[in-house]
């Protein structure tokens, strides 16, 4: 009798090679003792999240500016010459700013390479513009608008906002935006219109994100001012096209900047990350 009491008082060991006198489905009090929950959880502060959400908003601004420019050209408010001159000037300024920020040495070779790329692109773009005009002539405008919508949505979804997620594909995002610009360009009256819109799209969706990223790394405080500036530009340009659109834009802005962070913070307590000895080990250095 005393012997069996001794054996039951002996601590149960988590080993497989000893017959510990208990049944195979025995559940010890140390069951799940090594499980840890929510080890690496981050607590979010509301205004910090709001500030960070402007990364998404800036790409949305790009999209809205692009669509607004298209409509302005459609309504003959904006001439292609003006657009081309303005966007080229801004691009050159942006290029110089980027150059200064990165403290790059004045390697004439890479300047020459950039210049060559720009030249090739302009010549190619200009010679292909007549084809772009007639490319989607037989497709109805509604279909074009629908395709543009989905392509710009894809651009927003797959854009690299600085995270490491699997869904990020910068190439796909850029391709979607350029495809959207080609769709819209085909609805414009002359070749000159199409060329200026596509060039503008390239500058906006390919070159602007690079400058934005470098600005964010070197001058993080500038982000809010930049967002305010861009936001006002978008509001003004969209308002002159359609008042419904500007209301939609402002609501979208509110949703992403205020509501989404609040929602994220509200959902944090429900997090249930389980860690334990069954996890794949992370190699420690």
């Amino acid at each position: 009798m005393a012997m069996s009491c001794d054996r039951s008082r002996k601590k149960w060991q988590k080993v497989l090679y000893k017959d510990q006198g208990v049944s195979d489905n025995y559940v010890d009090e140390s069951f799940l003792e090594e499980m840890k929950k929510n080890l690496h959880i981050r607590t979010y502060e509301f205004w910090a999240v709001v500030r960070e959400s402007n990364v998404v908003m800036q790409q949305i601004y790009s999209v809205w500016i692009f669509v607004a420019v298209y409509f302005h050209m459609r309504n003959f408010v904006l001439t292609p010459q003006f657009l081309f001159e303005m966007s080229s000037a801004v691009t050159i300024v942006g290029y110089i700013v980027n150059f200064v920020i990165l403290h790059e040495n004045a390697l004439t070779k890479s300047r020459w390479k950039d210049g060559k790329t720009m030249g090739i692109f302009l010549i190619l773009g200009f010679s292909l513009s007549p084809i772009l005009m007639t490319l989607t002539k037989t497709i109805s405008t509604d279909t074009i608008y629908a395709m543009t919508f989905f392509m710009l949505l894809a651009n927003l979804l797959f854009h690299d906002y600085g995270t490491d997620a699997a869904i990020v594909s910068q190439a796909f995002s850029l391709n979607a935006a350029i495809f959207a610009s080609i769709c819209l360009a085909s609805r414009l009256p002359t070749t000159w219109h199409a060329f200026s819109l596509v060039t503008f799209a390239f500058e906006l969706f390919a070159l602007w994100p690079i400058l934005r990223r470098n600005l964010k790394i070197h001058f993080p405080r500038l982000q809010i001012i930049l967002s305010f500036l861009l936001g006002s530009v978008v509001t003004v340009s969209v308002a002159t096209v359609s008042s419904v659109a500007v209301v939609v834009f402002l609501l979208l802005h509110l949703f992403i900047t205020i509501l989404c962070p609040a929602w994220l913070i509200r959902l944090q307590p429900y997090k249930n990350n389980i860690h334990g000895p069954w996890d794949e080990a992370v190699i420690k250095q």
């Binding site: 497989l16 090679y17 049944s23 195979d24 489905n25 990350n273 334990g276 069954w278 080990a281 190699i283």
Partner: protein, 444 residues
Amino acid sequence: MKHSICMVSDFFYPNIGGVESHIYQLSQCLIERGHKVIVVTHAYGNRSGIRYLSNGLKVYYLPIQPVYNQCILPTVFTTLPVIRNILLRESINIVHGHSAFSALALESIFHARTMNVKAVFTDHSLFGFADLSSILTNKILKFSLAGVNHAICVSHTCKENTVLRGKIDPSDVSVIPNAVDASVFTPTSTERDPEKITIVVMSRLVYRKGADLLASVIPEICSRHSDVQFIIGGDGPKRLAIEEVREHFQLHDRIRLLGTVGHSAVRQVLVRGDIFLNTSLTEAFCIAIVEAASCGLQVVSTSVGGIPEVLPPDMIQLAEPSATSLVESLDKAIAKRRNCQLLSPDGAHDWVRKTYTWQNVAERTEIVYDKISAATEVTLADRLHRYNKCGLVAGKIFIFIAALNYLLLILCNWISPVQNIDLAVDCRKLRRLKTSGVNLEQSS
């Protein structure tokens, strides 16, 4: 009490692996104990139909081809007629599914429960919780385990993992470890090089098995000890990394890369070593270290998953999953070897031979079978209720699937009634006749 057991899995002979040999060995031992065992798996190339393995183990190679990762395409309902037919023909009263990766096993368990046949599920692997594939697989596992009568896991860590993933009662999970055929893995001192200390590595060279750790440990050990050599068996995408290390540090005469080693040749490689190194980042049980211990090698391994539970401290040196910790443990093992402080190879082999036997596994599995056979039957309403608990939306979907399966079963019963199905010949009767010396030709 003798049962009629149907082992189901996508992984079986002619494939060679842990799950495959587990099913085969367990079936053989259960047949020895007097039960009837059949195995159901998918077709392997031309191998389709019914084959018999030793001791009358009947294997049904269902005419379904594997599509991805050696598993069949999961369709849930299309396997019902054929599984129903097999279970009725062979008068099966317990279905035992293996491996959470096997779609066939999970579907067969589902159909068995629809037919009110008892079901057991054995989980052989550890899973995460965080990434998308894990979340989906765990949902499917919840569905399968909601219907199952009992679950078996190969280690305590595996049990904790399964209980958390499948949300089942821990007393419905039994821990029955794997085993090795110790008669195959015997030590011999003649193959070893007495001048050098040989470290054997036998694993696929992939990230999961810690090939990166191996690549960083080798040069460090080789520089610390001049008489150490490595024999690495196995192939994979990380082989290049090991070859680069060999090139960079000029260790051509100290590292031998054998490439893929066939299962029958594993023992020949193991007996050439003094120390077995395992650098896996995750393992539910790790049969390799038990095989190595059975061949008399000292084991050095990363302490992950279920590995700390498998061997006693005098037979294994555990290390953190980092290069420095592994090098330290290897140093200790090498020092012990030099001072002859290690357990003798025969001693280690005897220990493994007595501790991890398939007969023991079969005995403990039989206890599980007896327990579930004695349990009362669950009604359809209870089963649907259990499925409902799997989740807010998922529960309703699962109820729908279970109810539809039940209706399809009624349809199958109407199309091909139970009475019209011929019962298969029970191999046990033939064996009993044979062993009792009756001449079969005369009796017919």
